[in-house]
Each structure stands twice: as C-alpha cells, then as structure tokens.
Symmetry: none
Subunit: 157 residues, 2 copies
DNA sequence: CTCCTTTTAGTCAAAGATGGTCAAATTACA
DNA sequence: TGTAATTTGACCATCTTTGACTAAAAGGAG
C-alpha cells in the first residue's frame, strides 16, 4: 500500500471520522503530501463519489475550498441505501420508479410535491432519448437523487 | 470564509434583516472594511442581484448613497411561464439551471430541498450521455418540471 | 446663472488566488 | 504482457482584490 492516493484517501476518511463534512484546501493538501494538486482531484473523483456516499462542493478563487460531505448513517439513510442497491439497479422504468416514490411518500421521506418533481424530471417524456439508454440514465440519476436525499437535512448550510 | 466580500455581504444582509431596504455610503463602508471602494461594487454586483431578489438605486455627488432593496416576486404562474419561454430555451447548462433555481428559491417557488433534488436529478453527472444532447435533454426535462410546478403551486400543500 | 471644485459612485481591466480538466507518462497488477 | 490505476504537468475556469480612470451631483465663487 505504497501509493499516495490510498494514503490521501485514508487521511480524508479519518478527517471525516468524527465529522459529517470536512473542508480542504487543494493546494495545501497537495503540498502536505508532496504531490500534484490534480492528484487531489483524482482521489476525490475515484474514491469520494456519490456512489460511495459522498457529496462534494467547491469554490475557486480567493479563499476557495473543497468540501466533502459524508452521508450520515441514520435509519432513513440505511433504508435509502437499501433501495439504491436492491430496488433501483442499473436500469429502472418510469413505472417502477413511481412505485418506489410512493413508498417514499408513504414513509415521509419525500413530500407529494417532491415526488412529483422527481417523477416529472425523470419521466419517459422528459428523458427524450433512445430506449436503449433511457432506463439506464434514469437509474443513475434516480440513485443520485436518493443519495442526495440522504443528506438533505444535513448539508444545507 | 476569510474573504472580505463574504464579510461585507453578511454585514449588508444583517442590515436588511429587519428592514426591506438599507442605504449605505460606498466610501464609508470601504473604509470600515479597509478595502477598495470598488470592492463594494463587486459585492453588490455579485451578491445583491435581481436574481437573488435585490434591486439597487444610487446617487453620486454630495450626499450620494447606494440603496439596496429586497424584493420578492408575486405572480408565480406568469413568472414561471416567462422562465419557460424566455430563460430555458432548447438547451440549458447545469450552471444556468442552478441560477434559475436560486431565483425560484428566493421567490419561494421551491424549497431548498426541492432545488437540490432538481439540481441533482438533472446534473451533468446524472445525465450520463454525450454533451451534444445533454443540454437539450436537460432543457426539455427542466421545462416539464417548471410546468408541473406551475400547475401544482395552487393545489399542493 | 455659469463655471469650477469637491464629493460621491461606476466601470473596467490587470493581478492574484484558488480549484478543474485532460491526456501523456509511469507504475501496478492480473 | 497487456490492461487498469496512478502520477504529473500544462493549460483552463472562476472568484477576489486593487487601482486608474470616468461620470454625475452638489455647492460655492464670480
């Protein structure tokens, strides 16, 4: 385990051990680990992805930053996580998504309005593209939304 | 958050907490924050925009001033209709959509959570497809969502 | 009144400070 | 040995800060 990316990953993970988010300076971190600044991006892009439960925000320019937010481990989140892995998969139809959203509405994870927004945004009509990829795009997007929902109470400053 | 612009923004926002408008003196404020007077313009131009619900008036010369007024949109449907036809068009970038959503948030058409849902559902990352069609799909879907918001703004919640 | 001076605010572009992207080069691994 | 993962650097994009120059309003001297 001699590679820098893994080391940087560990460093960030440990920074997140007792906090739900951490702010880093790309340049400082790069200097600290004696690597190219873009290596920080590489680590973030490959290890701190939405898929793995991380959300990122950043700002350039004076006093810029990169914020990494870890999705919390609550009951609701565990539930959402389950949905993501078990029910959504790599492809999903509009109808199946509707069923899942009904369940989420029932369990007070989303409001009626939020359900309708998601349904409309990812409807067959909205995703005007070949059927071969439509269900794939919908699955990817829907999973991203569900991940974001996990965090919707925490990350909003 | 060490940058002066953010500090000045906070100062002005807090001045507006209990009033719908505030008068400032550009030079005094610049002196107070030890910055260039034009920095005040920078803050005003980037943070107190119409998109974010502010309008400005000013006068030069002796006893000149800058007045910042907080406004809010009222006619939701006409406003959304306008957005759909004028601002979205056939293609839209993720960034531009974010700006529009900021405005909608400011005008209480969507909540922070709803904004985040739309942003995530139609983000570049979610719409994993060639760039040539990404902005088109986003525009189509976003307009559908806006239309839905229009119809539901009366009945929902 | 008219012109000049003073007092404000506005514009714009350069410089500085960060982070982002991409692809070539290198290294690790199956 | 060939493919995937990592490392690096050149170049790009965005946000902030500063200052020189411009524009407008008010007040006063004549």
């Amino acid at each position: 385990m001699a590679n820098i990316s893994d080391t940087i990953e560990k460093f960030i993970v440990s920074s997140l051990e007792n906090n739900s988010s951490v702010d880093i300076s790309r340049n400082s971190l790069a200097e600290y680990f004696s690597c190219a600044p873009s290596q920080i991006n590489y680590v973030l892009d490959t290890r701190f992805t939405l898929d793995r439960g991380y959300i990122k925000e950043s700002k350039r320019g004076g006093s810029g930053f990169i914020k990494i937010i870890k999705v919390q481990n609550t009951d609701t989140n565990a539930y959402l996580n389950n949905l993501i892995t078990d029910s959504v998969g790599d492809e999903i139809t509009e109808k199946r998504m509707g069923q899942i959203l009904d369940k989420l509405l029932n369990d007070f994870v989303v409001t009626e309005k939020e359900k309708n927004i998601i349904l409309m945004a990812l409807s067959d009509d909205s995703l005007s593209m070949p059927f071969t990829i439509k269900d794939k795009v919908r699955a990817k997007s829907f999973k991203n939304v569900l991940t974001k929902l996990m965090n919707s109470s925490k990350s909003d400053e």
